[in-house]
């Protein structure tokens, strides 16, 4: 059994080394692009190495112990020889002694990593409040100047190369905020506010996932963290604060339909739609994905989602809106 296990271990290591895992393994945390994971990953790999080594050694010992002497075949009722009691205690002392050393070293390293991951290296300039709902992520950017606050959903932009502070506010049930390539997970518990931080090393899109069972669509409650250079981040932030341009023609009719059918749950800044039950949809078409990173964001998927959410996320709280194809096309415009 040691061979398959070794293969598995190699496979994992190779995967970790093979370039951009973000595309093919978006939640693989044996690859790190964030400061917290940078510090934790060596410890993780060391623990894996220790574990594999221990299993290998124990496995070899078991096999050696069995094959050492010619064994006996069982014969029912036969009276076989019996060895003496006593002896062999040195096995326990040596085995436990060596194990204890490794365990103590593991504890020491654990504490050292903790010291570096609990607090950000410098005071974060960007502060984001995340409230988790069944099954989407409410994201609120807060600034010292309240006029610069704004809301979005399911896609979080951060400046790369600096720490970002997160306030994790419990909403309905327990969820967990997790961006594996950047750092560990922290729960969002109703009635409590937890604090966390992340720092992305390089710009890129990193997938996040809810990591605490929260009901029927826990499987489809992902999100995206888009790390950008500080200039790109500022540009994005400014564009988020702008109101949309006044719609023309079919789009105007669509805007009206939107307010009527969707506005009671969804908000779009700068329009009449102001609902807070569902995700904020301001600048929706700038996002990479829909429905908590379940679908790619393009007109076809958008139509598919809007016309029948239950087909994609059965049990989600978004009702099937009563829209004709024409009205749907108008909203899309």
């Amino acid at each position: 059994m040691r061979l398959p296990r070794a293969l598995g271990g190699w496979g994992v290591a190779i995967t970790g080394l093979a370039g951009d895992a973000r595309a093919s393994q978006p939640l693989n945390y044996l690859v790190s692009h964030g400061l917290q994971n940078d510090v934790t990953l060596p410890l993780t790999k060391a623990l894996i190495a220790v574990s594999l080594t221990v299993v290998l050694i124990i496995g070899l010992l078991i096999v050696a112990a069995i094959l050492r002497r010619p064994g006996l075949q069982p014969v029912a009722g036969a009276r076989l020889e019996v060895g003496p009691e006593g002896g062999g205690l040195s096995w326990i002392w040596i085995g436990v002694g060596l194990s204890s050393l490794v365990l103590l070293a593991s504890i020491a390293w654990t504490v050292a990593v903790l010291g570096q991951t609990v607090h950000p290296p410098s005071k974060p300039k960007t502060r984001i409040e995340v409230t988790a709902h069944q099954w989407w992520w409410e994201v609120r950017y807060v600034d010292e100047n309240p006029a610069l606050d704004f809301a979005t959903a399911d896609e979080i932009h951060i400046p790369a190369g600096e720490p970002v502070a997160f306030k994790l506010i419990g909403g309905d049930v327990i969820h967990s905020f997790w961006v594996p390539l950047l750092g560990g997970k922290t729960d969002l518990i109703p009635g409590l506010t937890n604090e966390s931080w992340l720092q992305a090393d390089t710009p890129g899109t990193y997938r996040g996932q809810c990591a605490e069972y929260c009901g029927a669509q826990h499987a489809h409650m992902a999100f995206l963290v888009v790390a950008q250079s500080p200039q790109d981040f500022r540009r994005w932030r400014d564009s988020q604060l702008q109101s949309p341009a006044a719609p023309q023609g079919e789009a105007a009719q669509g805007a009206q339909l939107f307010t009527m059918h969707c506005g009671s749950c969804h908000s779009v800044r700068g329009t009449d739609a102001g609902g807070v039950l569902g995700p904020d949809l301001s600048h929706l078409m700038q996002r990479q994905s829909l429905a908590a990173a379940t679908l790619p964001n393009d007109p076809a998927h958008l139509s598919q989602w809007v016309s029948d959410p239950q087909a994609i996320k059965p049990g989600a709280y978004m009702q099937k809106p009563e829209l004709t194809a024409a009205e749907l096309a108008a909203i899309r415009a």
Binding site: L43, G77, R79, G83, L103, L114
Partner: protein
């Protein structure tokens, strides 16, 4: 009976020269035939077998649930199950395996074996024994009735609030789960009391505390732990039921409650519980492996102490299930360190077992294969646990399939494999027939290879970020092939389990006769017939060492234990009570005869719970009164049990 009956010094008799002792005892101890006997028996052997059969049935049911949802997960975006169906299946699977299989199977083996390995006639409290089984059976039926009717638990076996609260979970699912668990907890508690008292009072004369068999150490430690752990979860479930049905605010935030209170109460129970469901199995291996190494276990004292240490430490690590909840890191690091330290007593066991094989001469019977395989699987499960013990690493690993891999390696590796090995070992004692060796080998390799094929890949999919408890996943995550292999492995493993059950059935019908001691084992249960007579031992054995039946052959050892001559206790159902440390004989215990009262009490208790869950208060009151009446009848002082003044001259 005259008062002088109750103060006598029993004589010593020889069961070989006076077989009529056995004849007399048989008439005193055997249960009535037919349905009446079936409902009234207090014989630990019958109760033990019932536990084993019922627990195996739940194992199969839980396994089928898993195979179904593994089909759903075998490939991305499959539509074998709806999310709601998936959620009920994985939750019920967890509940079934962890509660309705894992402890009862061990209780069953221990129930059957303890009096025999301890040289006693029965457990200390035979009626309580019957009660614990009936409550277990009825609670299992109660829980499954909900599942069959379409409202099984759907919030995982751990049932976190607020999702378990009425606001998010309006149907009766969680009500059935909550009350069913409280009822089940009563079975566990009552059984635990029985084991601990038996350990202290029912050992054969001379079986001092350092001669107690290893299976006993494992079970008594686990049950003593349960006495302190089970009330926590029973309370948590009861408080949840109140929140859901009486409007209390223990857990719900709008009313001032705290979701984390649930997690603390649940895991203060949950962590000790996982030790309770493996320590007895480890004890079984410590008991049986040496037989197939032809020498005593290495480090008896170290292993016994390590068993106790594991249980005690197990009460101090529960927060490691809550590492991601945002508790202060200073507090969490204490639990992280403790969770890593707890590996030490486990290491004692692993090295003791390896040393025993190394210094012994292996006998390649099927039980040996399972026990040797167990050591490796234990180690694999142990190291993945060690990894999750490190706080920052756990912040990545927790709630991924890595933990699912870990928990299955420890539960299947440390519970199921020893249990199957123990069945091969003790089946001849239970039935008088040997299990088939050739089929046993096929059984072992299919289970071993299937298990590793199924569950090893979960370590990898977990490291690749696959979260737990998702009913489907997208393609392009890197998990596709891993899940397919896991599903295939699961089916191979299930085939192995099927081979095991087939072996049990055909061996029961036409296995080769086993005789008293087919494995040439040292412990007392092999000194009586296979299967044992209802009274276990015609005369009470006297014990002078840890390995009574090996004394005449072990180097540097003298035959001092006696099984053929000993105290004769045949004035009714009698056993000898002995002191807790040195097991010197103390008192004649008058044992109860068969009675329907435990069955009735369990039934009335179930009626109470049915009334509560359905809000039929009149039924609940009826159940409560019935329970009280049954208890009164049970406890009414009886002269024949030596409980009244009549049983002693003034």
């Amino acid at each position: 009976m005259s008062a002088s009956e109750y103060e006598r010094t029993p004589g010593i008799g020889d069961s070989v020269r006076h077989p009529e002792i056995g004849e007399r005892l048989k008439r005193l101890w055997e249960s009535e035939p037919g349905l009446r006997g079936w409902l009234t028996t207090v014989d630990h052997k019958k109760i033990g077998l019932r536990y084993i059969v019922t627990a195996f049935a739940f194992l199969v049911i839980g396994g089928i649930e898993a195979l179904i949802f593994r089909l759903q997960l075998s490939w991305p975006n499959r539509h074998v199950l709806t999310p709601e169906q998936y959620d009920q299946l994985f939750s019920t699977h967890g509940m079934t395996m962890i509660f309705l299989y894992a402890l009862p199977i061990l209780s069953g083996f221990s129930n059957y074996l303890w009096p025999l390995v301890l040289g006693a006639r029965d457990m200390a409290l035979p009626r309580l024994n019957a009660l614990s089984y009936w409550i277990y059976l009825f609670s299992g039926i109660f829980l499954y009735a909900a599942f069959i009717a379409g409202f099984g638990p759907n919030d995982g076996w751990f049932n976190y609030v607020p999702y378990a609260a009425r606001a998010f979970n309006g149907g009766p699912n969680i009500d059935f789960y909550s009350l069913g668990m409280v009822l089940f907890g009563m079975s566990t508690t009552v059984g635990a009391i029985n084991f601990v008292v038996t350990f202290l009072r029912m050992r054969a004369p001379g079986m001092s505390i350092n001669r107690v068999p290893m299976i006993t150490w494992g079970t008594v430690t686990a049950n003593a732990g349960n006495l302190f752990a089970v009330p926590s979860v029973s309370l948590a479930f009861f408080m949840l039921w109140l929140d859901r049905n009486a409007g209390t605010h223990f857990f719900d935030v709008p009313g001032g409650g705290q979701p984390l209170l649930w997690q603390h109460l649940f895991w203060m129970f949950g962590h000790p519980w996982v030790y309770a469901i493996v320590l007895p199995a480890m004890g079984m291996v410590s008991e049986a492996l040496p037989v197939f190494c032809r020498r005593p276990l290495v480090g008896y004292t170290a292993v016994a102490l390590a068993t106790v240490a594991t249980m005690v430490l197990g009460f101090g690590v529960w927060v490691h299930h809550m590492f991601a909840t945002g508790l202060p890191p200073i507090a969490l690091s204490f639990f992280s360190a403790a969770s890593i330290i707890i590996v030490v007593p486990s290491a004692v066991g692993v090295f003791a077992w390896i040393a025993t094989i190394w210094l012994g001469k292996p006998v390649f019977a099927t039980p040996f294969l399972f026990f040797a395989g167990f050591i490796l699987l234990f180690t694999m499960g142990g190291v993945s646990g060690y990894m999750t013990g490190s706080l920052p690493v756990d912040w990545q690993l927790t709630d991924t399939y890595f933990v699912v891999a870990h928990l299955h390696y420890v539960l299947i590796g440390i519970n199921v494999f020893p249990v199957v090995g123990a069945t091969y070992y003790w089946f001849p004692k239970f039935t008088g027939k040997l299990m088939d060796e050739r089929l046993g080998r096929w059984n072992f390799w299919t289970m071993f290879l299937g298990f590793n094929l199924g569950f090893f890949p979960m370590h990898v999919s977990g490291l690749l970020g696959m979260p737990r408890r998702i009913y489907t996943y997208a393609d392009g995550m890197g998990w596709d092939w891993l899940n397919l292999i896991t599903t295939v492995g699961g089916f191979v493993f299930a085939t192995g389990v099927l081979l095991f059950l087939i072996n049990v059935v055909i061996s029961h019908r036409r296995g080769r006769p086993a005789g008293d001691n087919p494995w040439d084992s040292p412990s007392l249960e092999w000194a009586t017939t296979s299967p044992p007579p209802p009274y276990n031992f015609a005369v009470i054995p006297t014990v002078a060492s840890r390995y009574p039946l090996w004394e005449d052959r072990m180097p540097r050892s003298v035959r001092e234990s006696a099984t053929e001559a000993g105290l004769v206790l045949d004035h009714g159902r009698e056993a000898v009570g002995t002191g807790p440390l040195d097991a010197q004989p103390d008192i004649i215990l008058k044992m109860p005869s068969d009675t329907i009262v435990p069955f009735v009490l369990a039934l009335m208790l179930t009626v109470l719970f049915v009334g509560l869950v359905l809000h039929w208060w009149w039924l609940a009151v009826l159940g409560l009164l019935g329970t009280g009446a049954a208890a009164l009848v049970w406890l009414w002082p009886r002269a024949e049990l030596g409980e009244t003044a009549e049983a002693k001259s003034g």
